[in-house]
Symmetry: C2
Subunit: 248 residues, 2 copies
């Protein structure tokens, strides 16, 4: 165990921040950490938008489903998959790379690139005593978010991240049993998975019952299957295609 | 600056490892670090396959384009997007969640989840003095990789990661200028991007010329647009759909 692993294992999402801004120097360090992550074939498909104007943050908070901490935090980042710069580069060299950009493969590459960069920011921020929470909620209204941030074709905002000095000490929700997510040499059979899920259902039911004083008693299996029974963000396929991505 | 940020900024991909295995205890710690990452709506969409059998590693190395370090390393992980466990959970609760799983939105969620988990592993491994390299090359032949690892419907191997004791000290390739990837309050106009790309082209051309003793002299703009002019892995869309993912 070392400081790095301690930081990683101590992660909790923070949804309440002190009214204290983060220094410009720290923001620069966090962006440098983002850039230090691995990138597929040196493509560097991530662009980070730092949202500083309070009015824009407020608007984003509304678009993300009225999550107050999107507006009230030390800093707010939006991580974008970005092939617009590759398009500019191609124009400089008189090449056509649109078929590559529009592919499912490129969509995977860009989503992975942006996520690796973001997780470096998360870990680095937490190492400085800051708290973070990922905001997938910006995908509730991605067209409006994209317009608000002026994202052109080939640029897709994937998720936000609120950062700040923590003003809450939430518990750590139990993760799936290690054996459920770690398989050796090949994917395990479903019988073992089922038995681990039953065990996890009981563990998480106990956790929620205790944490909420009995208000919520459902375990993970119940929670997840209830929420996933209602499809969300069904507009995504069309919107992503309109951005010129994930088409072929 | 602290130990965590130093570790993150010092990242280089390592493609040559000492013939030394990594302890079971370390592997468990790395998987725990993967699990500690944020996960969208508590869905935990990542499964990690640890490939230990040398024959399978050899086969993977071939499928990934004859990359020797896929077979020769201290350990090899494959990170998968995995909604099979949610399907099992849904069967336990007699729910139908297939529409959610098959959506573009879920494909984003799962790809992000697996990537955040992987980057925690990368940072944790490097903090222990290990080196890592991501292996997108497993997507060269994903059908064969998926069969080799026995991945069912709804489980998509996204990338591998070779880990081991470094036996090389590669240089650190210059990243895009910070101003190119970090925009404030909104996406910057393309004129600024173009000018930054011209500057970066020159910087990376110098870097490559020096590093290769003049054998390679192309900068990033030239390299990337040449490689992206040839679409790769065009089978991906169909394969991913056959897995039941990214359909609607």
């Amino acid at each position: 165990m070392n400081e790095v692993i301690e930081t990683i294992l101590a992660h909790r999402s923070i949804r309440r921040f002190k009214d204290k801004t983060i220094s410009e120097e720290t923001i620069t360090t966090l962006v440098e950490c983002a850039q230090a992550a691995s990138t597929s074939s040196y493509q560097q498909v991530c662009t980070i938008i730092g949202v500083e104007e309070q009015e824009k943050k407020q608007k984003l908070a509304e678009l993300a489903g009225n999550q107050s901490y999107v507006a009230e935090n030390g800093y707010f980042f939006v991580f974008c998959l970005d092939y617009n710069r590759h398009k500019i580069a191609a124009e400089m060299k008189d090449k056509d790379i649109s078929e590559t950009i529009q592919s499912t493969e490129a969509f995977i590459v860009g989503t992975v690139d942006a996520s690796l960069a973001a997780q470096n920011v998360a870990v680095a921020a937490e190492s400085l005593g800051l708290g973070i929470v990922y905001i997938g909620g910006i995908r509730n209204n991605l067209k409006e978010v994209s317009e608000l941030l002026g994202c052109p074709e080939y640029v897709l905002p994937l998720f936000g991240m609120a950062i700040g000095y923590p003003d809450a000490t939430p518990g750590k929700k139990p993760r799936l049993p290690l054996g459920a997510v770690f398989h050796k040499n090949g994917y395990k059979d479903n019988e073992e998975a089922k038995s681990l899920l039953e065990q996890y259902e009981s563990e998480t039911a106990k956790y929620y019952t205790k944490r909420t004083g009995g208000r919520r008693t459902e375990g993970w299996v119940t929670q997840i299957t209830t929420s996933m029974a209602s499809p969300k963000r069904a507009y995504m396929k069309d919107f992503v295609r309109k951005k010129g991505l994930n088409k072929t």
